[in-house]
């Protein structure tokens, strides 16, 4: 097929615009990564765009010296793993539990997941309830409330509905109970949907900063995102960098220390974002499919 001149011009224009678009999406990450591997004092001269000029691992070394950062990292890992596994189990159980159309009171349980998707008490009553349950200022506040998520139950329910009922019936005749059917038949068949929900929950947990900001005043119990936010916003900055004798960039230079608050921030952002990059290939595959299911009527 021959292309007209107008079409060819459009094709070139289109490729240029799309390349620019992709470049703008990607470049800021490259910039931050390059700075994180660069000598902090040297970086203040500017001129670093794609690669570090004076390569160093000192920024990272300094971060991993700090107990609070390591602690925060593990708190983030803890909440992510706990919610992604146990939360998904609770959600899958609930989704299976309401999958029988002739079950009495099914409607009641159905409404139970629909209502919270549209209306909530808001963060202040939520905070007060968590406080009265003794969850505030503990790491359990990151986990327990998230063990059931209505939207994830909806996603799993859609997939359970698609399973053929005959599978269960034959297992029933063999004398299997619901628990055995759930573990041996339903869960294995739900793998793609479970992967979606695990990734949704995991990414949500890893990226959450609000729980820490609202519920936990002890900064030693903050997840990485909350700690990073408070460092970026400067509320925590002075205390944080004073511990390291780095309170000002000028001071750093005078003492010939090659780390600056800026370079540490860059390294910390990279640490916080690396797990997301690692699971991104899987996320792209499952997450997007899950979103499509969710957007086509729950």
């Amino acid at each position: 097929m021959k292309l007209s001149r107008g079409e060819r011009t459009f094709d070139i224009f289109n490729v240029v615009v799309m390349t620019l678009f992709a470049a703008i999406c990607l470049y800021p990450f490259i910039y931050v990564i390059a700075l994180s591997f660069n000598d902090g004092t040297d970086a203040m001269r500017g001129g670093i765009y794609f690669f570090p000029r004076k390569f160093t691992l000192e920024n990272y070394a300094k971060l991993f010296e700090d107990n609070r950062i390591i602690g925060s990292f593990f708190i983030s890992v803890f909440r992510t793993v706990m919610v992604a596994t146990f939360g998904t189990l609770v959600n899958a159980m609930f989704a299976y539990g309401i999958s029988k159309s002739d079950m009495p009171f099914r409607k009641f349980f159905n409404w139970m997941i629909v209502i919270p998707m549209y209306f909530g008490g808001g963060i202040i009553p939520y905070f007060l309830i968590c406080k009265s349950l003794g969850l505030t200022n503990t790491i359990w506040v990151y986990v327990i409330p998230w063990l059931a998520t209505p939207f994830h139950i909806m996603l799993l329910r859609v997939s359970i509905k698609e399973l053929p009922e005959s599978l269960e019936e034959s297992a029933f005749l063999d004398g299997a109970g619901y628990w055995i059917i759930f573990v041996r038949i339903i869960l294995p068949l739900l793998k793609p949907a479970l992967a979606t929900v695990i990734l949704l929950a995991g990414i949500g947990q890893w990226n959450d900063w609000m729980d820490g900001t609202i519920m936990v005043s002890n900064s030693k119990l903050w997840p990485l995102q909350t700690l990073l936010l408070s460092i970026l916003q400067g509320t925590d900055m002075m205390a944080f960098f004073k511990e390291k004798n780095l309170s000002t960039a000028g001071g750093a230079m005078a003492r010939k220390i090659s780390i600056t608050p800026e370079s540490l921030k860059m390294a910390m952002m990279v640490i916080t974002v690396v797990p997301i990059f690692m699971i991104y290939p899987f996320a792209q595959k499952y997450f997007i499919k899950g979103i499509m299911v969710g957007s086509v009527k729950g």
Binding site: D11, G47, G97, M103, W209, L229, K265
Partner: protein, 310 residues
């Protein structure tokens, strides 16, 4: 007694499914504690909540908290900012994914198209804390953006992007697009994928150019998706972007960055003139009006374009 309440058949079914009810217990407990108790906790908006007496012992004050919310300048400012930011996001942020999806669809080289998609979805998976950190450093006085502008001779002194009130909303719109534009094209691209290829083949035989095919086939075919997503965004007009505004706002632009959500959150952190009950009342106002907006737009779309979410 039981016989009057439940029929024999119901009781039979309940017996049949008795183990299955146990599957609901963990999820039900969590939702009751963390979704329904906070809803019940909203009684505090009619109280002068004090932490010592709790929900049961605090003094009842009727609608006083709402009166206080509406009479403060904080509320007017937050409501205005919410609507302005949401409005801008609707005006600029809504059509962009449609245009980009159409452009992506016209890419001939499939590998190139996949690569662009893979790259442009990435920012969506990153938290607003990171996005804010990244753009604060890109736009800082010694950041790469200022460096390039200086080198090109477009400016003689670095621009303080994040402290500049006039630039704040453009930056908010831009960073929001940076994070979600690529990802938001998914909905349209998958909608385009469902259009039968025969239609395009027939159009080609009739001599329709690609431009005309896009105008007369692609756009009309995805108009349902466009309308649905438009209505969803209108329904969410009170959600101006909680995470974004909280992480990107700073003291210099506070007047412009405070939205309803951040005003509520501030009552829990610090720097708010509201007490807990008033803060909760503001939060409740936002979610009730938001819910109404959602149902109204949903009803409108059901009635006029036959697409709905609920």
């Amino acid at each position: 007694m039981k016989k009057i309440l439940l029929s024999d058949q119901t009781r039979h079914l309940m017996k049949k499914y008795r183990t299955l009810y146990l599957f609901l217990i963990p999820g039900a407990i969590i939702m009751i504690l963390f979704a329904y108790l906070p809803m019940g906790g909203l009684v505090m908006v009619f109280q002068l909540y004090d932490p010592v007496s709790g929900f049961f012992g605090s003094k009842w004050v009727g609608f006083e908290n709402f009166a206080r919310v509406f009479s403060t300048p904080v509320f007017g400012r937050a409501l205005r900012n919410t609507l302005v930011i949401s409005g801008l996001k609707l005006l600029i942020g809504f059509p962009m994914p449609v245009i980009f999806a159409l452009m992506l669809n016209e890419l001939r080289h499939q590998r190139f198209k996949k690569t662009v998609q893979t790259i442009t979805y990435i920012p969506n998976f990153v938290s607003w804390v990171i996005v804010s950190g990244i753009w604060y450093s890109m736009l800082s006085s010694s950041g790469v953006v200022n460096e390039i502008l200086l080198k090109l001779g477009l400016i003689s002194d670095p621009i303080l992007f994040m402290q500049n009130k006039a630039l704040f909303y453009p930056i908010i719109i831009f960073t929001d697009l940076w994070k979600s534009l690529g990802y938001n094209t998914i909905f349209y691209i998958s909608s385009i994928a469902t259009i039968p290829t025969e239609i395009y083949e027939a159009a080609e035989i009739d001599g329709a150019s690609r431009f005309r095919q896009a105008i007369y086939i692609t756009i009309p075919s995805i108009s349902g998706t466009i309308a649905l997503l438009f209505i969803m965004q209108v329904g969410g007009l009170l959600n101006a972007g909680f995470d974004q505004l909280w992480t990107m706002g700073n003291v210099a632009v506070r007047d412009m960055a405070d939205i309803l959500d951040t005003a509520v959150l501030r009552t829990l952190t610090s720097g708010s003139i509201y007490d807990l009950s008033t803060g909760a009342a503001l939060g409740m106002f936002k979610s009730v009006v938001g819910l109404l907006l959602f149902f109204i737009t949903n009803w409108v779309s059901k009635k006029f374009i036959d697409e709905s979410i609920v």
